[in-house]
Symmetry: C2
Subunit: 151 residues, 2 copies
DNA sequence: AGCTAATCAACAACGGTTGTTAGTTAGCGC
DNA sequence: GCGCTAACTAACAACCGTTGTTGATTAGCT
């Protein structure tokens, strides 16, 4: 995501207001690599701004996602996580501590291999070229043990 | 997953009972490639057994997952899906119709490339061999448009 | 200064899933 | 076929993460 300053400008350009709450959410995420949940972001923001509501944090996070400044990552274990890293990258989830680590993207390799790998469910195995899948994204989730957990 | 007959034996061996409900759930999933949700399985079972409860279907599905006969797949869009295909394989999710397709696994490639790709969050970029991640699984989710939806 | 977005509080409601209770059914080993 | 006990049912309540609602208030921006 862009820096808080740059983002403030973008927000104003969209006709939205740069409120302290929004800024606090932005600053809580900027440069962060820990993939916090909305709840954790809320905690961080409340340290500086004790009366902020969870609702407002969700609102700000969703706005950032809509603006394409933050990626929402759903890893299948409960709450969604928010990631300011917009580079194509994959994730490693520790099955013990549940922490999420960034992994350099394997996407180019994957997408290029997709056409050959797609399993034709139509049953018409003999005709390969009638089947077209458009791949917009490819995300990889590795699971295992991280270094801190004896991996 | 194994055939209903084989599974019946396994269930008995575990001291569990082969009830018509359980069998109906098994038969609803056996050989199925459509990745149904619990709700859809419930619908299928009720066609033959109108009084079965959703609770029981969940119970049977979870038992199958615990037995390792069915894979639970969480794709980040609502309900979990259940997949009797135990081969290592990936998934393609149509962003329009939400259908899920099996894709031949890219896992071997992925896991072998993981060690080189892991992004060392410790900041100690110069020392590569102190960081150990144990990768148990790697799942890939492709998203895009399927053939039926103009892909 | 004035328009209007944003926030707050407080609460309801959602969807998916699990827990609970108590009474009934039925699978399985003998 | 008996008896033990797992499983089922119905009818709920409760969970978690998230979103909607309402109405009053605050404050960003032009």
């Amino acid at each position: 995501m862009q820096s808080p300053d740059e983002l403030a400008t973008r927000i104003r350009e969209q006709g939205m207001k740069v409120t302290p709450q929004r800024l606090a959410v932005i600053e809580a995420l900027y440069g962060d690599g820990s993939h916090p949940t909305a709840d954790i972001v809320w905690d961080r923001v409340r340290e500086r701004m004790p009366t902020v509501s969870l609702r407002t944090v969700y609102q700000a996070l969703n706005d950032l996602v809509e603006m394409g400044e933050v990626q929402m990552v759903e890893l299948g274990n409960g709450a969604a996580r928010f990631d300011p890293n917009l580079d194509h990258h994959d994730h490693f989830v520790c099955r013990n501590c549940e922490r999420v680590y960034d992994v350099k993207s394997t996407r180019p390799r994957l997408v290029s291999s997709f056409a050959a790998a797609i399993d034709d469910d139509s049953g018409d195995g003999s005709d390969g070229d009638a089947v077209h899948y458009t791949v917009d994204s490819a995300e990889v989730i590795f699971r295992g043990l991280c270094p801190d957990c004896g991996g």
